[in-house]
């Protein structure tokens, strides 16, 4: 490749690089810079405020802030339950689809993908109303079977949100796993069947190990999303502020620190901390699953 051609090729990427610098690198740098400062009220607060270098104080505060660390823990615990359940259902459905003719499988696949077409905010609004004791059909349905459900009770909020996320995510994850299953060489099944393996055995010993990569990937994407969960709890908070506090998830705390408490510096430090936690969690998950694969 000639020298001038190289530069012409680079030119194709220049607009993106400039935009990336302005919309990604600059904000991150600005957030890190801000996280190292704090606002100092001067006098009676009339003379405005001045910025003062704070070193790592904001970070220290964040790491010992029980509201923030509590919200991280809450989300991590929730992720440990919801993500495996969702992926297990997706895997089972994908395995089911894989044994059907492609025509029948195609029809079910479209039906199961319908929730994925619904915008997340709308999905949350719909489920909140389904859960609602006033307009939702689930409360009367529960009564028929002798349950007295209150989906907004403190002990039920996470299961309620978990069901919503599972409903929304199963189809997408199923499609990813299903397309990985399509790559399994069919001859393997014939050979296993000749050796007398049952369908269940084939699924366990051939299909599931084969789609391991897809499972790791969908797991990783789900973890990244889950640590940043904001929309669903924010919409729940609209309806039940008593059970969903304004410090329910890490991003909710960051949002409140920035826009309700006006403490940008602390919010910046918390978002850097969250990014680090996200990086560590992804790395650990990747290492853990990679090691098992060996």
């Amino acid at each position: 490749m000639t020298r001038s051609l190289r530069w012409k090729g680079a030119a194709f990427t220049v607009p993106f690089q400039l935009g990336f610098a302005f919309l990604y690198l600059l904000p991150i740098g600005y957030a890190v810079y801000q996280s190292l400062y704090r606002e100092q009220q001067s006098g009676l607060g009339l003379g405005g405020s001045t910025e003062e270098f704070a070193g790592l104080d904001n970070y220290q505060h964040g790491l010992t802030d029980s509201a923030f660390m509590g919200s991280v823990l809450r989300v991590v615990l929730f992720a440990c339950v919801q993500i495996p359940v969702m992926l297990l259902i997706s895997l089972v459905l994908a395995l089911f689809l894989d044994t059907l003719t492609s025509k029948v499988a195609g029809r079910f696949r479209i039906l199961l993908l319908v929730p994925y077409m619904i915008p997340g905010v709308v999905a949350a609004l719909v489920w909140i109303n389904l859960y609602s004791p006033d307009v939702g059909p689930l409360t009367p349905l529960g009564k028929v079977f002798g349950f007295d459900w209150n989906f907004f009770a403190p002990s039920m909020v996470w299961p309620s949100i978990g069901n919503l996320l599972t409903w929304h995510g199963v189809g997408y994850n199923m499609v990813i796993i299903y397309s990985a299953l399509q790559g399994v060489p069919r001859e393997l099944f014939e050979a296993a069947r000749l050796d007398g393996a049952s369908e269940g055995r084939i699924a366990l010993s051939i299909k599931i190990p084969f789609v391991r990569g897809a499972l790791v990937l969908t797991g990783m994407l789900s973890i990244i999303q889950m640590l940043q969960i904001f929309n669903e709890p924010a919409l729940f908070r609209n309806i039940t502020p008593q059970t969903v506090s304004d410090s329910f998830t890490p991003i909710m705390i960051i949002y409140n620190q920035a826009f309700n408490a006006g403490n940008y510096h602390y919010a910046a430090a918390l978002s850097v901390l969250l990014a680090l936690i996200l990086g560590v969690a992804s790395f650990l998950f990747y290492r853990l699953t990679a090691r098992e694969a060996e």
């Binding site: 690198l25 600059l26 307009v135």
Partner: protein, 301 residues
Amino acid sequence: MTITEERTKPHAVRRLNRPDPAARSRGGQRFLLVGLTLASVYSLFPVWWLMVAATKDRVGLYQSNGLWFSGWHLWDNLRQLFTYEHGIFLRWTANSLLYAGVGSLGGTLLALATGYGLARFEFPGRNLVFACVVGSFLIPIALLTLPLYLLFSQIGMVDTPWAMLIPCLINPFSVYLAKVYTEATIPYELLEAARIDGAGELRIFFSIVLRMMTTGGATVFLLAFVNTWNAFFLPLTVLRGENNWTLNIGLYNWSGKRLESGVDLTSLVLTGALLSIVPMAIMMVAMRRYWRTGVTLGALK
């Protein structure tokens, strides 16, 4: 894994309509179908409920069985929705279409150029740019959005459409997809041939590469559109006045009115929610072919 590999694998193009021998056992087959049917019912009933709810008046909404119709008030609900607060809902719809449509179109063009540059040229810093693209997948949205809000407010851009449009132009995931698609569809030999014929680089890009990338470009556009249409945190942060809001923010605000000021807008929220699915459904059905490849490609990330 890239598309090329997938294509060259013989078994990837697989069984057409041949049932797997798993279908041999009839009982087993029935069990699978029952399971899948139950899962489909679970997937569909909330959407069904939403459609039914949009046809009811307030009394029906609160007092009739949620899963079946009770009177037909869809037109009344729509009229109310479109006239409430001087038609603010239509304004939000227009805003959402503007941000998602224009933002994604610009973002897709930019991503195609970048992906092409990354995939078909070797220049110093190429790997660094690509590392930035992939690394950005891990950045939490709050880390970008809050400082962006502050930067935008310093240049007077907060609460203008630009605050939504400009971030949509730079989409690392689109760039990633565009690079993968370029690698799969644009052969080096073709570019060489065009150069020998004396075509300039810009001309090659606009009249050859872009044309060959229609499928890839459509997928990138579709995914970006869906993303922007669904966006919540960014518009919540950078759009303050209700005239610039998106559908999502408007519906969010309406659903909170009941506790905030005692106005129950549930009926409007539900009708609005149903309408906000419509453009997505149209897009997805119209671009079904691209969407499928896009969904699976997301997996190869």
